[in-house]
């Protein structure tokens, strides 16, 4: 098995320490950092994402895989910056105002990054204005809003209204997701996209960025 395949395999098992060792070895062997990233780390994470979509793996497996991916990327970062890797699009993501939960949001962020998107993480308890201002300042293609609570999900409609008021509604797509969110809710508030899981959200964001 090649070292790149080993990275992918161990990432899928969530083996943090092994992934770090293998990435370091691959760097020492002079393997192209973008190959380590794309064919090792991101490829492994994409497999996990697909399995998650199909209920073949569960939240814990995704969390440990994502941690291993992030650790590998940290090692590659100084080398990748030099190569100026082009992202597939820019997304600002956050948990809406009044809501402090971020496991779901972080999963979506990691899945999006594994698809080659640049993700600006606004954290939790994010106001509609902060979403929209970031989208303007950083020229984001997509605003992605997360909520865990039924009491906070309505903030998402404020994000849509705020984007309309700022005159950027035709320039940015708004994605919504989280425990209480449904497709019907997404349509009702005038958002553009709802997906039921993190991996599908990443796929959808890539598509939305591509058409902008």
């Amino acid at each position: 098995m090649s070292i790149i395949s080993e990275i992918s395999e161990n990432l899928q098992k969530g083996r943090l320490k092994t992934v770090k060792e293998l990435v370091n070895s691959a760097i020492d062997e002079g393997i192209d950092p973008s190959k380590i990233l794309n064919d090792g780390l991101l490829s492994g994470m994409n497999i996990i994402g697909e399995k998650f979509k199909n209920n073949q793996v569960y939240v814990p497996e995704v969390l440990v895989a994502a941690r291993a991916m992030n650790a590998g990327i940290e090692l590659l970062k100084p080398l990748l910056n030099k190569e100026k890797i082009k992202s597939k699009g820019r997304v600002c993501i956050g948990t809406v105002q009044g809501d402090l939960h971020d496991i779901g949001k972080n999963l979506v962020k990691m899945m999006m990054e594994s698809k080659g998107l640049e993700v600006i993480d606004l954290g939790t308890d994010v106001s509609p204005e902060a979403f929209v201002n970031t989208a303007i300042e950083k020229s984001c293609h997509v605003i992605c809003c997360s909520a865990l609570l039924t009491t906070t999900m309505d903030v998402m409609s404020e994000v849509v209204k705020c984007a309309e008021k700022a005159g950027i509604r035709d320039k940015v797509k708004i994605m919504v997701g989280g425990a209480p969110i449904t497709r019907e809710f997404c349509e009702r508030i005038g958002a553009d996209c709802y997906t039921s899981d993190a991996a599908s959200a990443a796929d959808a964001a890539v598509e939305l960025c591509a058409v902008q």
Binding site: Y58, P60, V64, G98, L100, H101, D125, T151, A179
Partner: protein, 372 residues
């Protein structure tokens, strides 16, 4: 026929004069909202918990018959708990607090939200052995023996009362956080994760055994887990079986030996993939079957497991925030589920802020009209 008889008869497929109007409590913020609207007296809005006297008064005012979640039990928490402590106030006003389970949570004053988990203490073997294991030991102090000795004389006879059988994994998740549980189980120390589950479960078994040896006056048993979410379980079914099945089996066998044949389990989210372990080890009541927020369902489980699978819950509580038409639609659905037998309609979780008082009254009255 009283409500205890009604509930037990339905769950044993026997006749009833009518269906009971059963609920699962409220968000405290809703009771305050209702008090401010003048719908309920202000004193009923505070200190109102499952099965309390205040709740009974509120039941009467609204028209409910009872709360399903009326249980008594032993202390299955960490004992003593960690001392709740403010660690840090962040620039955005959020507070980082060490909670009773050893989790560092982030809360924002003035925000109605479940706290989020920032960090946790139970990360390795040393933390387990020194900080947690001593707090997971059996002690008679975990049980109010006097209460149970007198329970047959003090318990209400017109409503069901369950023995709380504790938790196999939900509380461990509360001590490790979802993230910590995942890291331990899959990468860092799966043997330690097994030891945590086993230690914690053994203590609860001893407590349950001691309670049941003192008193057998229970109508049902009840677990709390909350280990699922919108897309299914927060643990793979394979690992769930590996770590947890033996403990459900042991505890449920004990309950059966003491004549308890209704074993309910509270798990939010979509529970389908964990049902095999629960059902095969003796848990036979799905509760609260979160239809509205998470899309859980009772009918597929009944089809798959047959009449041995019972249910309490399944009514989309969000309809009670909407209008009469939405409530009527749910009542019709409840009638259909009730006709299957072995099913008691109940809002699918605690009623939340924005719930309309009059709609709840209406729903409770209509449910009582269901006859088989």
């Amino acid at each position: 026929m009283n409500n205890r008889e009604r509930i037990l008869n339905i769950l044993h497929y026997k006749d009833v004069d009518r269906f009971p109007a059963v609920h699962f409590g409220y968000w405290e913020e809703l009771l305050q909202e209702w008090a401010e609207q003048g719908k309920i007296p202000k004193d009923l809005a505070v200190g109102n918990y499952d099965g309390s006297q205040k709740e009974r008064e509120l039941d009467y005012l609204i028209g409910w018959d009872c709360n399903w979640y009326k249980t008594v039990g032993f202390n299955y928490n960490l004992d003593p708990p960690f001392e709740r402590k403010l660690l840090e106030v962040l620039p955005d006003g959020c507070r980082r607090i060490l909670n009773e389970d050893g989790i560092i949570e982030r809360v924002k004053p003035g925000t109605v939200s479940i706290p989020s988990e920032d960090d946790y203490l139970l990360k390795d073997r040393e933390a387990f052995e020194t900080l947690f294991k001593p707090k997971m030991q059996y002690s008679p102090n975990r049980i109010n023996f006097d209460f149970f000795r007198n329970f047959s004389k003090t318990r209400p006879n017109d409503v069901t009362v369950g023995i709380h059988a504790g938790s196999v994994i939900g509380n461990v998740r509360n001590m490790t956080s979802v993230i910590g549980m995942s890291y331990l189980m899959y990468d860092e120390d799966e043997e330690l994760f097994g030891d945590i589950i086993d230690t914690y479960a053994d203590m609860q078994y001893k407590c349950l055994e001691a309670v049941l040896n003192t008193c057998e006056e229970f109508d049902f048993a009840h677990y709390w887990e909350d280990i699922c979410f919108k897309n299914g379980p927060l643990i793979s079914p394979k690992n769930f079986e590996k770590y947890c099945a033996k403990h459900y089996q042991k505890r449920n066998d004990l309950l059966h030996r003491h004549g308890i044949d209704i074993i309910s389990l509270d798990c939010d989210g979509v529970t389908e993939q964990l049902l095999p372990v629960w059902f095969e080890t003796g848990v036979n009541v799905m509760f609260p079957i979160e239809v509205g927020v998470w899309g859980d369902q009772f009918e597929p489980a009944r089809k798959k497991y047959g009449k041995g699978m019972l249910g309490v819950g399944g009514m989309d509580k969000t309809a009670l925030r909407k209008d009469k038409a939405a409530v009527d639609k749910e009542i019709e659905r409840m009638k259909r589920l009730a006709s299957l037998g072995g099913f008691i309609p109940c809002p699918d979780h605690r009623l939340m802020p924005g719930t309309k008082f009059e709609l709840v009254q209406y729903y409770a009255e209509e449910i009582k009209k269901i006859k088989l």
